[in-house]
Symmetry: C2
Subunit: 119 residues, 2 copies
DNA sequence: GTAATCAGTTTCCTTTTGGTAACCAGTTAC
DNA sequence: GTAACTGGTTACCAAAAGGAAACTGATTAC
C-alpha cells in the first residue's frame, strides 16, 4: 500500500510538467490553430476569439520553450514570423485523446448517469 | 486536413473537463493523500505541506462534486468527517500514467536531449 | 464556567492573472 | 512627411486566486 503511494508520488512531477504544457485556457487552442495551418501571429490571434495579443505572445514563448512550436523570422515586406508545430508536438495527440476519452466518460458519470436518480 | 482539425476541436470540451478535474496545484496531491488512506480533514491537511484550510475545503467540494471522493459525517465525539475515494476516481489512474509518461519523455526532450546540441 | 478537538467558514490583505489600449520598430506605398 | 501593415511590448487597471489568522459551533472533560 505504501509502495503504491510512493509510485503515485513519483508520478507527480512528470504529471505537473505535462499539465504545465497543455493546461490553461489557451495552449491547446493555439496548438490546434497551428496544427490547422495558421502560421502567423495575427492569423493565430484572429483564429481564436477572445485571445488577447499579450496572452498569445506569452503562450507562444512558453510553447516554443517546450519545443511544441518553432518560430522563424522571415525578412521581407513586411517582416513576417512563422510559427510551425514540431514533431514533438505530435506526441501530445495521444495524451489529448486519453484526456478526451476520460472527459467524455466523466461527463456521462456526472450528468448522464440515470441509474442513481431512481430514488 | 480540415477533418483532423474538427476532430481536434471536438476534443476540446472533454479535455477541458478532465483538466478541470485534475488540474491545479492541489487536486492530485489531495487525491493521492486519500488514496494513501487519509480519511479526515485535518489529516489530509497535515499530510500536504503548504496547503491551507481554505483551499483544501474548496478542493474537497470540487472533488466531491466530481464524484472522485465521498464525504460522510460521523456523529460522535468530536464530530468527524470521513473522506474516501470512489471507484470512479480509480479510472483516473490510467490517465495519470499517460500524463506521467509524456512528462518524463518531455523532460528528456527539453533537458536531456544531447543529440541536438552537437553543433 | 474554561479548555480542547474536529471541521470547516469568514475576513482581510497580498499576489497573480488578465484585459484594454497605447505604443515601438521596421518596411513599403504615396 | 503620413498611412498602413507586420509582430510584438509596455503601462495601467480590474478581477480572480491565495495565504494567514480569527472565528463559529458542536461536544467532551474538568
Amino acid at each position: 500500500m505504501k509502495k503504491e503511494h510512493k509510485e503515485c508520488m513519483s508520478a507527480l512531477l512528470p504529471v505537473r510538467d505535462t499539465l504545465d504544457v497543455i493546461g490553461g485556457k489557451w495552449k491547446l487552442l493555439i496548438l490546434i490553430s497551428i496544427w490547422e495551418g495558421n502560421k502567423h501571429f495575427r492569423g493565430i490571434e484572429r483564429s481564436i476569439p477572445k485571445l488577447s495579443t499579450k496572452v498569445l505572445s506569452k503562450e507562444l514563448k512558453d510553447m516554443e520553450a517546450n519545443q511544441l512550436i518553432t518560430r522563424t523570422v522571415i525578412n521581407g515586406f513586411p517582416v513576417r514570423t512563422e510559427y510551425r508545430h514540431t514533431e514533438h508536438s505530435n506526441t501530445l495527440k495521444k495524451v489529448i485523446m486519453e484526456l478526451q476519452n476520460w472527459g467524455i466518460n466523466h461527463r456521462k458519470k456526472i450528468f448522464g448517469d440515470k441509474s442513481e436518480i431512481s430514488n
